[in-house]
């Protein structure tokens, strides 16, 4: 029986696994850990500066490209802020719809009649969403609504799989405890299924947000009418403008880190008990 709190504790203690495994390394102090982080960033930056790999532009080139892209016309599809905002908006809206739909489908999988549908939808995650471009085109007009629909659908297949797996992990004993306490069906669902799994659902959405960026690039490549990071990367790649591509890669990385922090903060605010340490 692994509870949500236990899982969070396991996750929190995971960072110490290596120091526990390789005891000769010792347990680095918090200050030291922060320093190690900075040291690794510096190492990677130095590698970037002096890399012999031809395909990677130098930092100075990327910086120059950043200034050019930032300074271009605000509504121009080569403008950095415009493209970043277009894609970020798509990411947020797509993730919202995908999360709502997936949560509903995953939680309703406790109803036997919906379990086969849930299973079939999980199999769809193996299929590349852009292959259904024409299907979406026949339902939506090309542009914003079609991109949102494609992104939401593509992410939902993964979200449903992870969310359903989380629900399936609830120990049978928890249901039986609720039953012997005379809880009705809805209260069992609320007490055993919905409420305790919500923190894990935030983790799952956070992971899928990262996956969404991979899909976005593909979706925006197919739907370039409104610009966006995906369309821009496609356009710059086809003209071999490596520095511009790397500007967007760095921006995606920064947004991903901020999104991770946002979900971590959200979980702490909504479910403070998930940060409680296991009793020694």
């Amino acid at each position: 029986m692994v509870t949500q709190v236990e899982k969070n504790n396991q996750s929190a203690s995971r960072q110490n696994i290596f120091s526990e495994t390789f005891r000769f390394c010792g347990e680095p102090a918090r200050f030291m850990r922060a320093n190690l982080f900075v040291i690794w960033i510096v190492i990677l930056f130095l590698f970037w500066m002096f890399t012999p790999i031809q395909g990677i532009p130098y930092p100075s080139e990327v910086l120059a490209a950043f200034q050019r892209m930032f300074a271009s016309e605000a509504n121009d599809t080569s403008n950095l802020v415009y493209n970043t905002w277009t894609t970020l908006k798509l990411n947020i809206v797509g993730l919202f719809f995908a999360s709502v739909v997936s949560l509903l489908i995953a939680y309703f999988s406790v109803l036997p009649i919906l379990q086969p549908l849930n299973q079939i939808l999980q199999w769809f995650r193996y299929l590349p969403i852009v292959a259904f471009n024409l299907v979406f085109l026949s339902i939506f007009t090309i542009g914003w609504s079609m991109k949102v629909a494609m992104l939401s659908t593509g992410m939902a297949f993964f979200l449903i799989t992870s969310m359903t797996a989380e629900i399936a992990q609830i120990p049978k004993l928890k249901y039986e405890l609720a039953r012997v306490l005379n809880y009705g069906d809805f209260k069992v669902f609320w007490t055993v299924v919905l409420r305790p799994t919500l923190p894990a659902m935030i983790d799952i959405v956070a992971q899928s947000a990262a996956m969404g960026w991979v899909m976005i690039v593909a979706i925006e490549t197919f739907n370039r009418t409104e610009g966006g990071i995906g369309a821009a990367i496609y356009s710059y790649s086809s003209t071999n403008q490596k520095a511009e591509v790397y500007v967007y890669l760095i921006i995606i990385g920064i947004i991903a880190i901020l999104e991770d922090q946002f979900f971590y903060w959200l979980k702490r605010i909504l479910f403070p008990y998930t940060t409680i340490s296991e009793r020694a």
Partner: protein
């Protein structure tokens, strides 16, 4: 008024992978009385594989017997249904996303109390079980003993006559067994309207704590063989060879007169073909 829990000719089998059937319970009969104002603890004792858990699940309404029935008398005679009998499961599962207080308030509210009444009652139980300081803690922050106390209080708060405890001594060292015995004895004295049914394989603890011991045999045991197993264990305990109870309990333990009922010795695997 006497309450009654009656197990009438209950049988239960499970299909095995090789096409055979494992007969776990066969025509089990057991009569459990609840006499108000009298603390009562009884044990269903038996070795592993003797069908204790299966019987517990049928008693609690979690599983249906293949044949036979469990009758509860609470005013009228009727078949037992899930929720009639409280169960303190092994390892004490609780609602981990809720505080200790809410783990008691919710079942109390479900029993028909208003939010205020439920909270007042929960606080009373926390006081009784010495858990007031843990009221705002989460189950993950509790020790095993504290979890057990919350789990017992959670079942008692709905005021059901019968509360079953599944292997409450399992995996504990003698010191902690003694603590659990003290806790259960004290709880039974405080809740004289309840009958506590302990399902265990721990002969010593069952003998110390119970007013009645019902022996559930292993498959293929005869009544004589089951009795011999029990007597042998009992002799060992009496001689202080198997387990030394707390010195203050020893005289009481040795003087105690147990009513031992040999409930059932089911047959071994029965082939379907």
């Amino acid at each position: 008024m006497e309450e009654l829990l009656n197990i009438d000719n209950v049988s239960k089998s499970f299909p095995l992978n090789d096409g055979k059937t494992l007969q776990v319970l066969s025509d089990v009969n057991l009569r459990i009385l609840n006499i108000p104002e009298k603390p009562q603890i009884l044990s269903i004792l038996g070795p592993s594989g003797g069908g204790k858990t299966t019987l517990l699940r049928i008693l609690a309404g979690l599983d249906k017997p293949d044949s036979g029935r469990v009758i509860i008398k609470d005013g009228s005679m009727r078949e037992v249904k899930i929720g009639d009998i409280g169960v303190v499961f092994q390892r004490y599962p609780l609602f981990d996303d809720q505080t200790v207080l809410n783990n008691l308030v919710e079942p109390a509210k479900n029993g028909g109390l208003s939010a205020q009444e439920a909270k007042a009652k929960a606080l009373k139980y926390l006081e009784e079980f010495e858990l007031v300081r843990q009221a705002d803690s989460y189950p993950m922050q509790l020790s095993g003993g504290q979890r057990q106390r919350v789990a017992i209080a959670q079942q008692l708060i709905q005021e059901r006559r019968y509360v079953i405890l599944d292997e409450p001594f399992s995996g504990l060292d003698p010191n902690n067994i003694q603590k659990v015995i003290n806790l259960l004895t004290h709880t039974a004295e405080q809740h004289t309207d309840n009958t506590f049914i302990i399902v265990t394989h721990d002969v010593t603890s069952a003998m110390i704590i119970s007013d009645h011991v019902h022996l559930l045999g292993k498959p293929n045991d005869t009544e004589e063989k089951g009795g011999a197993y029990f007597v042998k264990e009992y002799d060992m305990i009496a001689e202080g060879l198997a387990y030394q109870p707390d010195i203050e309990d020893l005289p009481r333990f040795l003087e105690i007169k147990k009513e031992i009922k040999y409930v059932h010795f089911p047959r071994l695997v029965i082939a379907r073909n």
